[in-house]
Amino acid sequence: MNAPAYNFAYLDEQTKRMIRRAILKAIAIPGYQVPFASREMPMPYGWGTGGVQVTAALLGPQDVLKVIDQGSDDTTNAISIRKFFAKTAGVATTTATDEATVIQTRHRIPEKALNENQVLVYQVPIPEPLRFLEPRETETRRMHALAEYGLMHVKLYEDIARFGHIATAYAYPVKVNARYVMDPSPTPKFDNPKMDNCPALQLFGAGREKRIYAIPPYTQVVSLDFEDHPFEPYRFNAPCALCGAENSYLDEIVTDDQGGRMFVCSDTDYCEGRQAAGHRGSLSAAPYKEKAQEASNG
């Protein structure tokens, strides 16, 4: 460890115990938001203070950590959190989904299916799915306690009345274990089916709102909908321009001011893996060009 002034993984052991107790309770009541004494972290709220605390409480010296932000391993948020734990816990880090034991994520679930030895930690800005419909915390707690979820359908109704279909594209409400309605953090609804019956443990940490909730492995997660307007995952209707994937979630990248754009996988590890395996999209660099460049350099 190259920062001896810190305890292992930054937080002191008592704090980690407090967080672990909240995590255990959250696992025992799937989808229920457990309050916890969120600490100040050396990063601003909104940058994943909740996720970082959950990760810190989970990490052991043998763990391999992967951090993604919108699916990408190399954005500022992902890199700084990965470096933070490399420094304070000295754990191994990776960008490969299948090598990681703990994956902290902001706004995406990796494309590659997770396994039983992995934990997925979500960064959550607003844990309360009913918040924008019912501003009173006392009232939303009561609604959860009594399973009064008619209001959630009011939101979906409004979507259909206004747009003709359920236009909620992210933070799409789900019902966990046929009991609690939960906000899956702002993941695209494309990822909702991946949460259902997932072999990996899924933990959600909201630092500013001081809540932790969980989906234990192999738990039923159902996206709310209407009989005549069923839930549908949304995806741009195009293959990835770099790896040609037809079934991954895509980012739209504007390439010029003439309306040019390209669609690429938001999960960078998945996309790179496919390219390494020889898959090519319409805009990937032609192999002969790379070879020619190598020849001129070398």
């Binding site: 419909l133 009594l146 109704y157 409004e158 009345a161 009989e227 005549d228 307007h229």
Partner: protein
């Protein structure tokens, strides 16, 4: 069937037994007892501060009585004391078999969501899960309260006062409640709008065989809508009887004063 209806109408729907409530030294409500039968409209009249609203809150289970009991005959025919109901049961009762029309529609409506969703909310709360059917029912109810169905997707923010009040009524009646509480439903509306609303209420009450407890300080509203009147003063019921009887031939000096203070038409 007819026999059963007869029996059902014979038993009171709601019974209040010596209800009292005081806030500190102020006795807001003292020893109020009455029975309400299915399809009956009871008006509670009195000036501001006479305890009408406190009484209404106790009757509708929103405020625990200081002493006394309120019992209600549930849809399964069993009469139960409201204080023995769990919170979940009470809230369920409140959004299915009961309605509550507030004086200020902003309290009873979700001002930011569309009229259709406002009417549909109760249906969704009891498990309706078919958008088309919810919308059809909502638009049917908007027609019944004389709101143009073209405005089904507009938020009540954009509605006039009278329309808001009619929307609030539709939102309450959509689950076909048997008992509706109304707290000054015509307060703050101008006279012609009041008249239309009263007309509408009168026909809906008759058509749906609703029992209504209506709190008002407007004796004209009581005369138009109610079968029975209770006059309150200083937290007590000072006079009660059939509406015509109380308003045409008031016995108590205070009721005489109330009746005589209506301007002649």
């Amino acid at each position: 069937m007819a026999d059963q209806n007869l029996v059902e109408n014979d038993e009171p729907l709601l019974v209040a037994e010596s209800l009292s409530k005081s806030f500190g030294r102020i006795a807001a409500c003292r020893d109020v007892s009455f029975s309400l039968y299915p399809g009956e409209v009871l008006a509670i009249v009195g000036e501001s501060g006479s305890g009408k609203s406190t009484l209404l809150q106790m009757l509708s289970g929103q405020l625990a009585p200081g002493s006394g009991h309120v019992s209600y005959r549930m849809r399964d025919g069993v009469t139960r004391d409201l204080s023995t109901l769990g919170e979940a049961e009470r809230r369920f009762l409140f959004r299915t078999d009961w309605g509550f029309v507030h004086q200020d529609p902003a309290q009873g409506l979700r001002m930011a969501v569309s009229a259709g969703a406002n009417v549909g909310e109760r249906l969704m709360a009891v498990g309706w899960n078919h958008y088309g059917r919810i919308r059809d029912t909502a638009s049917d109810w908007l027609t019944r309260v004389e709101i143009d169905t073209a405005r089904i997707d507009d938020a009540p923010r954009t509605y006039s006062g009278g329309m808001r009040q009619r929307l609030q009524i539709a939102r309450n009646l959509v689950t076909e409640p048997r008992l509706v509480f109304m707290d000054e439903p015509t307060g703050g509306l101008d006279v012609s709008v009041q008249a239309r609303l009263l007309d509408l209420l009168r026909s809906l009450v008759a058509e749906l065989h609703l029992a209504v407890i209506i709190v008002t300080h407007d004796l004209a509203v009581a005369r138009l809508l109610s079968h029975r009147v209770m006059v309150m003063k200083g937290g007590r019921v000072i006079e009660t009887g059939l509406t015509d009887q109380v308003l045409d031939d008031p016995r108590e000096p205070y009721t005489q004063l109330l009746v005589s203070s209506i301007l002649p038409p």
